[in-house]
């Protein structure tokens, strides 16, 4: 069959473009054990670095004696803050405008803090030497409770900035206070609360947890002294930013630094920041002239790299007697640990917490967030969410439930009554966002019908009766959630990280024979970018996705971009890809017109070719045009077919979804069993449904973990109690249910292809759905709210406190 005889449908299908469940191109190497992760990198003469870490949460470092360690054969160096100080590398900037010790300078501020860096010939020798470094500490009083940070007897943690009354985000009122961030109208909101017929109040705690990707963080630094070039491979979700930071820190010119993110074994926010291990590996390589590898172990990963959440959210929500919401008030105490190392855009010290009005039309709102230092590991990263959006969604979705209880109203009905209506978009929220598009009522009704919500409530009521009558010891919880995300950071006018605008980029080259390579500023950590970005491009330029290579993560070849986190790849780099594709097409159109001997305006684009209007038999395919661009003189047109786009999004995107979880709870053991989980996601235009579903399954399982048991817990001395996978809960295949996925499709009006991003929605919406199910199970017995994580012990305790065991 000739190209002309194929139908438009056949030609479209052959592209494997938008909307196709295309199989992943990444899988061949991963399924055969041929991935290339940072710990797989080996170089001649490579050394291995390992940290001496603090056993104390707060202590002065009196002395460090590394003589015994240095005596071990194979130990090359032991670096301390004193060694780094002359290079000005003993402290480094965090992404949140704070600074962080690379190696303990005078004192330690959290358990597991990096004190010295041992460099040795292999990892066993390094570990031996770590044990032999003698550090003398003087213990100091420990601060673990953020609510005690400003009491008169509170220890001052950050002596380096104790007197600074101004921080990166405005005035500081106490040495342990980092910032106060206020949004909305305080007095007007308080006036609404004072006059409202109904006000519900609750303290909602989103506990400290951790992204814990299966691969820990690590790096290999190689300083080539001959050429003056530094190469750094590592687990970087934002390699270009790492290069800029490395250049600023080391003084090595940016063009002499090459940062490479090889395959990354999951990130989830854990690999956005810059860690002392990266800096020490660089310094050690500069000092020794040999490549140096640093790979953290799991305990180090859980106790010293970026935690997430730890928000104490005090809320008040006002409504009319019949459930129309009038106002929302929130004060959050944010426990940041020893350094403010959030990865939020500069102007948003509490991320996008001001999306906390959620899916609801709330006329008046006020939010204040106080950032506090404690003796815990730094972080506060966006763990599979866009900058504090999970916290915001959990807060509002719990407050809705609490309000429903106060009103004695069905929580599904209360939501529907207050949703932003379809005709209100673009919608301006009371806390300053412009929601791009949505159709919440349609999604919600679809979800309620899919699970037979009315039937479930009837069954639940019957079960409560049976429980009271002694016929069963099980209760049933129905967890509802309608979340609105805000992703795709973001417009350069208000989003930057360390001053770098949060645009992203794509560069495309079409080869003479009509295949292509696209390079992006983002980096996949399992999201399948090499598969999906090729699909976006295939639909734009009419070349099959199978003929397009996608490359990311090498700063020497990829265009500058801010990386992958906060569900920003599709909204920002995906848009850049489409725009670069359109530039290719614009040039190709001129070439095609020349080849067809007609005016540019007399041809039109059709799937994979330019066709002369009114003469469908006269056409040039993109492949033919590509070949011509390299082989023929086209008057007035440069040879070759390439384009680059740096995309500055005009707005964020606002994916949303309706999730319903049905849970059975054993009152006597506290065990919970997920009977059903229905997840409807609306992420705008769907690029690859198979990958979307996979993202939803994975995100929901992380949500399950967080809601039902996973936490980073400290004792009163600041000891980490959950430092291994023994104590830090990751669900196995046994606890994890099958999920039912569904969708509606409301494109983003401002994104070139209407896509909104999905990777984080299931975590944002999943946590409230699971938690609401647990809380809901006990609603009939007088429970208003109980804190996560809802592990079996806590559920049992809730039942016990409610008198259900007597």
């Amino acid at each position: 069959m000739s190209a002309a005889e194929e139908t438009i449908q056949e030609r479209t299908a052959a592209l494997k473009g938008l909307g196709t469940s295309r199989k992943r191109v990444e899988d061949a190497r991963f399924t055969q054990g041929k991935g290339n992760y940072v710990d797989d990198i080996k170089m001649p003469d490579m050394l291995f670095g390992d940290f001496v870490r603090s056993p104390y949460a707060h202590a002065r470092v009196k002395s460090i004696d590394s003589s015994a360690a240095m005596a071990v054969p194979g130990v090359i160096a032991v670096l301390t803050a004193q060694d780094l100080e002359p290079l000005s590398l003993h402290w480094m900037p965090t992404l949140a405008g704070d600074k962080q010790m690379v190696l303990a300078d005078g004192k330690v501020l959290f358990q597991g803090q990096e004190v010295a860096f041992v460099v040795a010939e292999d990892r066993y020798i390094a570990a031996d030497a770590v044990d032999l470094v003698q550090v003398e500490y003087e213990e100091l009083p420990v601060l673990v409770d953020p609510f005690k940070a400003e009491l008169p007897d509170a220890p001052v943690l950050r002596e380096d900035i104790a007197d600074a009354t101004e921080g990166a985000h405005g005035p500081r009122r106490h040495p342990n206070h980092i910032f106060t961030w206020e949004q909305g109208d305080k007095s007007a909101t308080e006036a609404v609360l004072a006059e409202a017929p109904v006000v519900a109040e609750e303290m909602v705690y989103y506990h400290r947890t951790h992204p814990c990707p299966m691969e820990t963080c690590g790096a290999v630094a190689s300083m080539d002294k001959v050429n003056g070039k530094l190469t750094l491979w590592g687990t970087f979700q934002a390699p270009h930013v790492v290069r800029t930071v490395a250049s600023l820190l080391s003084g090595i010119a940016e063009h002499n630094i090459r940062v490479v993110s090889p395959d990354i074994g999951g990130g989830f926010g854990n690999k956005v920041g810059v860690y002392p291990g990266y800096v020490c590996a660089i310094v050690a390589s500069i000092v020794t002239g040999q490549p140096v590898k640093w790979i953290e172990d799991r305990m180090e990963n859980l106790s010293a790299t970026a935690f997430a959440r730890d928000y104490w959210m005090k809320g008040k929500i006002a409504a009319t007697d019949d459930g129309k919401i009038l106002g929302l008030w929130c004060h959050t105490t944010a426990d940041h640990g020893a350094f403010d190392a959030c990865a939020d855009p500069t102007k948003y010290p509490a991320g996008f917490m001001n999306i906390c009005t959620g899916s609801y039309d709330i006329p008046m709102a006020y939010l204040a967030v106080d950032g506090i230092y404690t003796n815990k590991a730094p972080g506060g990263v966006a763990y599979r969410c866009s900058f504090r959006v999970t916290e915001a969604a959990y807060f509002i979705e719990r407050m809705i439930e609490v309000l429903a209880i106060k009103l004695n109203m069905d929580a599904a009905e209360l939501r529907a009554k207050n949703f932003i209506r379809k005709d209100q978009f673009p919608y301006h929220s009371a806390l300053g966002w412009e929601y791009d598009s949505g159709d919440y009522h349609t999604a919600w009704n679809k979800a309620l019908e899919a699970v037979n919500y009315t039937g479930l409530r009837a069954e639940q009521a019957q079960q409560v009766e049976d429980f009271k009558a002694g016929k069963t010891r099980k209760l049933m919880g129905i967890g509802l959630c309608h979340f609105t995300e805000i992703v795709g950071a973001g417009p350069v006018k208000n989003c930057d990280i360390l001053g770098m605008g949060m645009f992203d980029s794509c560069e495309i080259r079409i080869h003479p024979t009509g295949s292509a390579i696209a390079r992006l500023g983002t980096i996949s950590q399992g999201q399948g970018h090499a598969t999906t970005f090729a699909q976006i491009l295939a639909s734009e330029i009419g070349i099959s996705a199978d003929d397009i290579t996608v490359e990311e993560g090498d700063t020497d070849t990829a265009p500058y971009g801010l990386g992958t986190y906060g569900s920003r790849s599709t909204p920002v780099a995906g848009a850049a890809t489409a725009m670069a594709g359109r530039k290719i097409r614009a040039k190709a159109q001129m070439i095609a017109a020349y080849l067809l001997e007609v005016h540019d305006n007399d041809i039109e684009w059709e799937v994979d070719r330019f066709v002369v209007k009114g003469a469908p038999e006269r056409f040039k395919t993109m492949k033919e045009v590509a070949f011509a661009s390299y082989t023929q003189v086209i008057p007035g047109v440069e040879p070759g077919l390439e384009a680059v786009s740096y995309y500055d999004p005009p707005n964020m995107t606002y994916p949303f979804g309706a999730y319903i979880c049905v849970m059975d709870i054993d009152v006597d053991t506290g065990e919970s069993d997920i009977r059903q989980f229905y997840a409807l996601d609306d992420c705008g235009t769907r690029i690859n449904p198979m990958i979307i579903e996979g993202q939803v399954h994975g995100g929901l399982t992380e949500a399950l973990a967080i809601a039902l048991g996973q936490e980073i817990a400290y004792d009163e001395l600041g000891n980490v109690k959950t430092g291994s996978l023994m104590d830090f809960f990751i669900p196995t295949s046994w606890e994890t249910p099958n999920y039912q996925t569904d969708f509606t499709e409301t494109p983003s009006p401002h994104h070139p292809i209407g896509a909104k991003g999905v990777g984080e929605s299931p975590n944002v919406g999943g946590v409230p759905a699971f938690s609401n199910a647990i809380n809901d199970a006990f609603r009939a017995f007088g429970l208003t709210h109980t804190h996560m994580p809802h592990d079996h012990w806590r559920i049992w305790k809730t039942a016990n406190d409610l008198g259900l065991h007597s």
Binding site: K23, R24, E26, D27, A28, R29, F30, T31, Q32, G33, K34, G35, Y37, D39, D40, K42, D122, R123, Y124, C212, P213, M214, E215, T216, D263, I264, G265, G266, F268, I295, D297, R298, Q525, G526, Q527, G528, M690, I691, E693, G694, Q695, H697, G698, G699, L700, T701, E702, S724, L725, M726, I730, T732, S733, W734, T736, N738, Y739
Partner: protein, 162 residues
């Protein structure tokens, strides 16, 4: 520390390594024998990323000193299939989107391979129980389970036996 010569048969080839008594098998495989398919996710026997097959059993290779494997037959992900002839599980993981970042995948497939040898007709429950020693942070397991079930089906087709 003094080293001992360890003789192994890895993926059908006789190999030798020099290891200290305390060296973990996963480190010897990865660092000396260049077998980097099995990964390290914890080094405390919790995650299963390091799973290999030793004398017909699934073993977390961070749980074993290399010397304990002296003389044994080891199969890793590298030995299950090759680019010209993939193992059915490797095909099914791709077909059913049973992997994302790929970090757990070698251990997961190696474990699933042994599971299907032990139980060629597993129920979904059997699969979920049988791979519960292998953690995955990305997929939520749903598609992994699907892939393993599909592989079992295909292996049970008469022509696959031949």
């Amino acid at each position: 520390m003094s080293k001992t010569t360890i003789k192994l048969n890895v993926n059908g080839q006789s190999v030798e390594a020099q290891a200290e008594p305390r060296e973990l098998l996963i480190h010897v495989l990865r660092e000396q024998l260049q077998i980097t398919g099995p990964h390290i996710g914890c080094e405390t026997s919790h995650c299963g990323a390091c799973t290999v097959d030793i004398d017909g059993k699934s073993i977390k290779s961070c749980t074993l000193f290399a010397i304990q494997a002296q003389g044994s037959e080891i199969t890793t992900i590298e030995g299950l299939g090759n680019p010209d002839k993939l193992h059915v599980l490797q095909e099914k993981f791709k077909e059913h989107h049973g992997l994302q970042c790929g970090y757990c995948t070698p251990g997961m497939i190696t474990r699933a391979h042994r599971l299907l040898e032990e139980n060629p007709n597993p129920t979904e429950e059997d699969v979920r129980f049988g791979i519960a020693g292998n953690l995955c942070r990305c997929t939520g397991y749903q598609n992994i389970v699907k892939a393993v079930m599909a592989a079992a089906d295909e292996l049970n087709q008469p022509e696959a036996v031949a």
